[in-house]
Symmetry: C4
Amino acid sequence: MDADSRLSRWENRTEVPLFVTSLVYLGAYAVHVLDPGLPVAVHDALRAVIGLTWSMFVADYVVRWRLSGHPFLPGYMRHHFLDTVVVVLPLLRPLRAVHLYEVIQRRRAQPRLSLYGRVIAYAGMTALLLGFSASLAVYQQERGAPHATIRTFGDSVWWACSTLTTVGYGDVTPVTPGGRSIAAVLMFLGLALLGAVTGSFSSWLLQVFTREDEKPPGGFPGAS
Amino acid sequence: MDADSRLSRWENRTEVPLFVTSLVYLGAYAVHVLDPGLPVAVHDALRAVIGLTWSMFVADYVVRWRLSGHPFLPGYMRHHFLDTVVVVLPLLRPLRAVHLYEVIQRRRAQPRLSLYGRVIAYAGMTALLLGFSASLAVYQQERGAPHATIRTFGDSVWWACSTLTTVGYGDVTPVTPGGRSIAAVLMFLGLALLGAVTGSFSSWLLQVFTREDEKPPGGFPGAS
Amino acid sequence: MDADSRLSRWENRTEVPLFVTSLVYLGAYAVHVLDPGLPVAVHDALRAVIGLTWSMFVADYVVRWRLSGHPFLPGYMRHHFLDTVVVVLPLLRPLRAVHLYEVIQRRRAQPRLSLYGRVIAYAGMTALLLGFSASLAVYQQERGAPHATIRTFGDSVWWACSTLTTVGYGDVTPVTPGGRSIAAVLMFLGLALLGAVTGSFSSWLLQVFTREDEKPPGGFPGAS
Amino acid sequence: MDADSRLSRWENRTEVPLFVTSLVYLGAYAVHVLDPGLPVAVHDALRAVIGLTWSMFVADYVVRWRLSGHPFLPGYMRHHFLDTVVVVLPLLRPLRAVHLYEVIQRRRAQPRLSLYGRVIAYAGMTALLLGFSASLAVYQQERGAPHATIRTFGDSVWWACSTLTTVGYGDVTPVTPGGRSIAAVLMFLGLALLGAVTGSFSSWLLQVFTREDEKPPGGFPGAS
């Protein structure tokens, strides 16, 4: 890995501020979408906050590229695929929270999550963040559409839950081309991510039951 | 494991009475929800039974914490995660039936279920209990709602089946915020649990067919 | 295995006649359900054929139990679980076709299907037979129901396809308690069986691609 | 493998022209279906292009069979199952793009995709091509049907997305027997293919997280 000391130092110093920035970004975007009744000046301010925080993520990405030693951007992008996705879709930025939690645990010399636990945490949180941002974006598309069945943000969250889990009731569905495009992305990504969560949970459960076979009886499985 | 002799003795003694208590709890809750036409006094009695049985589960949980040697409750809660879930959602309490069955089998020196069989039994029974309690709770939410499509308990069970299996017809769906919140929990938990059941069934089937390769021919697979 | 020579001889002799009997059973049941316009005498004859063929399956089951050396029926039922299921649900009887195919292949000294291929064949055929019999049974329940959306046998097959794959459009769904009960069974069994098919297909695909790594290039994967 | 030098030479020479041919085929079919308002002469020309390109695929298949050394066609068909499928369903022909990409990578001495990456690429691209061709074919069936809910090609693509991912909203569904038959094929094939994609993605994610355990900390997983 290209983790020379200057890159590590940069990451150690920017970790917490950038996480706070990502929460500010998410909050500003959510308020912007969910409360269209606010004065125009407030919406302009929110847009400015969204633009500013985004440019901070881009700056962080560029600095990490320069410190990584990769001479060309495309090569860096391929090797840091998920970092690149997060710069393009900054709504996923709070995902670094899981990483931050691990860094803190390591400093306090506490054990990290198990392998399955980490896959579940990353994939599950990505799915939830995707679902939340898709709810916001689809709500923005559908709000004013004629014959729309998604009329409140609650409808949109309900639709996102039934889509992510592939249940798909169809009582509320997007009807605009924009809303349907976002929905299609959510379907395919959600299928892959929740498939990973389900598979890891299944493996973890098998592991728990296997381990229990070697222990004296008592209590529920997992009660180690 | 922290299974010192006093904890084991407590568990051996409370196993059967607590299982009966959990059936009483489930029955009282079901009658309370399903028959609103009963006299007020009966509903008061049912509510008293529900409260009393729940407090017995909490007492059992506290005793097991004190006997476990864990000095602090949060540490115990983390290590006995499923026990904690069962105290908060006592409708899942009858799950201990599988454990009870195993304890009895061991005393009679009979073989326990295979690894896959136990994962299927635990995860499948948890899914069924979740589905049953979600049917009850959603029915309670939707019963009086205007434009509700879930109008009878049968509708609610039908809805829970199509949700747990992720089929999701959408012919009957919750329309109230309360009903939809319960439904979202059921979707995500059901997806994980039935994923574990399906995965274990698939692994078991592969095992059966592998084993059959080493046997003389005849009969169906599994016909050992 | 308890495959002594008398049991093997019985199975060798009854294999083909019982397979033909199972096709007769399936055909008689299908005609009985699908063409209610036939004269009453024909329907009586069909019912007689259904009863007669079923009793032959029961007789075969009893003979195999007596020849197996198991002294008690419950013990035999537990060890020959799938045989027992097939006696109770004789619509699944044609499943033995896969077994028959293997017996014939072995006599002609041809290779049997691979492990994954056999799991896919058994689980997939069981799912298809389940779907076909559920279509027949649901159609019988819904045909005369008021407000039914399943009005033709084609609707019923379309509904079974969307249910087995957990797609669940919900454009046609059972509305009677009987139809919904059959549907719930189909959902849970179909989920497990098609999960096994999908998992085996996935493993087989990985195997094909792994094997290809060790070969000179050319052609599609699987082009061995 | 039967990859003698003449077969390899044939494949090296026809690789690129046949890929271009497959794109021509797909384009001609899509224009033929999507723009029924074109003059009759144009449609005749498109039909001629479709027939001509198809016959080129058949010719290529026959040549490869003759060069392979298999004396009989059925034996060749069984060993080159996917090639055979592609000749029957030429809409899947562009799949060879993945193969072509690999051949080019190998000539430039660049590493091939990882095992999971290749399964995801093949199965995912097959699913997308299947979905696209099913959208075209279902649109052709439903276009003029009374009470059809699929009225535009956009509806058809939206329906294919929700079907492939097994979400199945049911807001737009085929109503004609032809459309429903194509839909049933898409459901079963899509379930198997996207199951393989999901399973491989899940395994890849576990691999990434396992590998990360052996590295110094920093960055997102996958940031190798």
